[in-house]
Symmetry: none
Subunit: 336 residues, 2 copies
């Protein structure tokens, strides 16, 4: 067929038969004997170009199969998939212990490892932190370090209850173990009704703190869903705001006390306006946005947060990662 077609337009010379045996032998010399392409060309008395082409042909035809053999491979594959699915710059996936599943331990350790690495190389001056169990867990896993030029900045107000994993405890905890300074947000996460936001935030101490948000080199974010598993929902919601009302409004979880819907849109400007902390718009401007969260109940809010552009590095565990991928796949088949 192809031959005839060529002849019709005036074929000159048959292409030399690049036999499988020829290609095979070249590949053998190249990959097994580790000869250079020039050496092989000399040995078989052909041009180097032909050797080069044979090897490339073998690769595309699948004659040579390169396998990577390692217990770590599955996780790397997962990371790559997550990155492309969610549009991340980096994904860190910790192996979770499925038998004795703990949402925070594994992710905390992974975050600690990542932080240590980034702090060593990244030359950060200012690190924003929210709070929650995951960050508390990371602090426990962090080795003691010395970063005298680093300032840990709390980017979210606190709640009355819960001392160590509260705003104050997390920021100071990080600063302590990292050998850094810190600045906390001495305010509740939600303003009481009737308090004028502008007036409250204009207080001198708060104003100075808020100005630091603009120059953060990185932020550590967490998220949660709307259920009794959420610390915020259990202990921190302002009076008059019920979980049911949030769910009715489309909320699937929160980032920095701001509730988002399935597509990452803010559910209630009104509620958002009562939170004391960094705005999501400001978060998006931070060069490195590290989100650490795990657990099946956080899949939806993680997806939403990524969609909103709040995440460029995701730290999670393999269980959550797999659920995330499944969820994204389902969504795209439903939509597209």
């Amino acid at each position: 067929m192809r031959q005839n077609a060529r002849k019709d337009i005036g074929l000159a010379r048959e292409p030399i038969e690049e036999s499988d045996a020829f290609v095979t032998e070249i590949c053998w010399h190249y990959y097994v004997n580790e000869m250079t392409q020039a050496e092989i060309a000399r040995l078989l008395d052909v041009t180097r170009l032909r050797v080069n082409q044979a090897i490339q042909r073998a690769k595309t035809l699948g004659f040579v199969k390169i396998q990577i053999e390692s217990p770590f491979l599955p996780r790397i594959e997962l990371q790559e998939e997550l990155k492309s699915c969610l549009g991340l710059k980096r994904a860190v996936i910790s192996p979770s212990n499925e038998a004795d599943y703990d949402y925070h331990k594994s992710v905390g350790a992974a975050l600690a490892a990542l932080l240590t690495e980034r702090l060593a190389t990244g030359d950060w001056k200012s690190l924003g932190v929210s709070w929650g169990l995951t960050l508390d867990s990371a602090i426990r896993k962090l080795p003691r370090q010395s970063h005298p030029d680093l300032e840990v900045v709390s980017i979210l107000g606190g709640t009355a209850k819960g001392s160590t994993l509260n705003s104050f405890g997390i920021a100071s905890g990080f600063a302590n173990v990292l050998g850094a300074r810190y600045s906390v947000l001495t305010a509740p996460i939600y303003l009481s009704e009737g308090i004028d936001r502008e007036v409250f935030l204009s207080q001198y101490a708060l104003k100075e703190h808020f100005e630091k948000f603009a120059s953060l080199d990185a932020v550590l974010l967490t998220c949660s869903n709307v259920s009794e598993k959420s610390f915020l929902v259990e202990h921190g919601l302002p009076q008059g705001l019920s979980p049911e009302a949030l769910i009715d409004a489309g909320a699937i979880g929160d980032v920095l006390g701001k509730f988002l819907d399935r597509d990452g849109r803010s559910v209630s400007a009104q509620v958002d306006n009562r939170t004391v902390g960094m705005s999501l718009e400001d978060v998006i401007e931070v060069p490195e946005k590290i989100m650490a969260a795990a657990g099946p109940h956080k899949v939806e809010i993680l997806k939403a947060a990524c969609q909103r552009g709040l995440v460029d590095t995701l730290v999670t565990d393999d269980t959550t990662a797999r659920l995330l991928l499944k969820s994204v796949a389902k969504q795209s088949t439903a939509t597209g």
Copy 2:
């Protein structure tokens, strides 16, 4: 221990941990994503040198396995000749790199390819393995497989030195990569003088193991000559047995620790009686006897082993194959 030793000579910095996960990730990017080393270095924020070293380390460690579809197509004529000359059922000849000749690499890869093919079609339940550099090389080239019904049986005792390429390491290495069970021969290759063979071998664990020899579907054999190139001669000969004495007795090499003369006859029943492993008589009974060996120094012992009927499949390289043919031709003109 090692740390102290280092400290004594004034250690400065711990070498950074080139973790397997790190190496794996680099190989993933390099081979799967086809990124350049420089790109990977930038991505992971390390020097290009480290990436380069990681890839080379992965290659030598066998983390990456490169498979070629049909490596022995081009050597058909040579193979046919060998088969008829040596009375073989099958001959597999790999092309070797004569400029930078490595006895084991090429043959190991060919053996790996052959094994993969035979395991897929042959329905083996039990595979006997000896040990040596050639088999070690084959393990590195074997892709990971799953043969849960296969048992790898070590057919030869070990030496004190040389961990991975020893009896235990080879059998478990094959089993690991093939996804099979294994049974090792926990005994030295040569009994010490004065130990009663019958008494020693009657030990429960050994007896049970020896009984497996009768039902092997295949064996992987190697051989060596009597010189400093032989691992056995260098490291494994029993006390009081010198290479010179063996040569004087007509020995030209060994198979399974049993030394043979030019015609494949056992040189010393006394020495044979001290070896712990499968007897040559039992080997002959195995349905598939695969001998893998290469190098000019192994030509004579290969010929002898074939003559003795220990080989029905020979895996070697083209250099050795040609020498074998020449040697056989010379002998037959001299004799006939």
